[in-house]
Amino acid sequence: MEQFIISPSSGIPIYKQLYSQIERMILNGYFSVDQRLPSVRQVASDLDVNPMTVSKAYGLLEERGYLTRLRGKGMVVTARDEEVLKQEKLTMLDEMIKELLAQAKHMGISGDKVAKMIKQNIANGQDETVGKE
């Protein structure tokens, strides 16, 4: 089964695309603690990419503490301290917010306005009427 989606011709290196996808899948619980990830070989063959690319993504996830290499079992999701996990989720959201604010700035929309829009979204329970003011 092809769990991951990559776009080889994108300017973002394939290992980075894989890294961020798996990071997200771990943080949002798609991969649970101790769950085994498909082997490097499997992923490389599913996606038709060089196995070195997959190794690189897995290696980076291991280095950053998301995965643990188990002898004869491959890569499994590392058990993490609740507090650390929460911090990582917040960091990820923070990056998304920074990106959002940068985009808004390009469009000439102030941070205050974006904050208002977010609050309104919350108040509306995120339904379709958002943004009409």
Partner: protein, 288 residues
Amino acid sequence: MTCIVNVKGLTKSYKNQSVLKELSLDVEQGDVVGLLGKNGAGKSTLLKSLLNISDIDSGEISIFGEQYNQLSSKNKARIGYVPQENDEISWLSVKDLINFRKQFYAAWSDEKVTELLSRWEIDLTKKISELSPGQVQRVLIILALAPRPELLIFDEPAASLDPAGRRDFLKEILSLVSDENITVIFSTHITSDLERIANKVAILDKGQIRYFNDLDTTKENVVQLTLHWQADKNITVPYLLRGKQFLQGQHAIVSQLDQAWLEEMKEQAVEVTINPMGLEDIFLELTA
């Protein structure tokens, strides 16, 4: 790392036209090198020179640590080559051609031949001249893979294959790369194939390897920048390949991202947006 192919100062001209000028290239074991270059850049000449099919004017080439024109037969058998044009005897049937070529190799895999012939639906009884260009290319690939080579040299191997055929060919190469740690050098115009299977990219331009680097590093380094600033400023972008100024801003394509410069821009309140580029665009910029 073991160096499999080492080229130093390779120079070659046809009649009075210079093709390769003092070209150097090192390929290490396990590397999958994608060779890009415009038409007539000399890709085929370079690959043929490595194999001593084409004479060179000067320079040194070593393969598996031996001088290229004095390779032992053992080392010759470790190389698989797929030429751009069919140079096999075309009046032979596929079966006879395979049996003919088999005699020259000690480590010929009948199993691999049978598997690929049936997977690629090639009729053994047909003459080479009766096959479609795509089928001929497949036969050439089978002939190159059958002796279980450790170094594969492909000259536009996928040029006459349709998308499904190309993908299947890539799969075969990838499985060889992951199982046997073989080294691959292939020239291509199809950058998306290169992006899937290569770990390194080499750009041949004006007779030299203009650029040789990790594919990932290349994508991280060669990027398009958009700069925005408020007050009057005169910004110099380091490693600039091409740029275009506009009012209070600049578009720029750089060959390398200078982190110290990025910090400086932040301090000067210059907004820098980094846009990654695909390999095709990178290639066009680097050879412009």
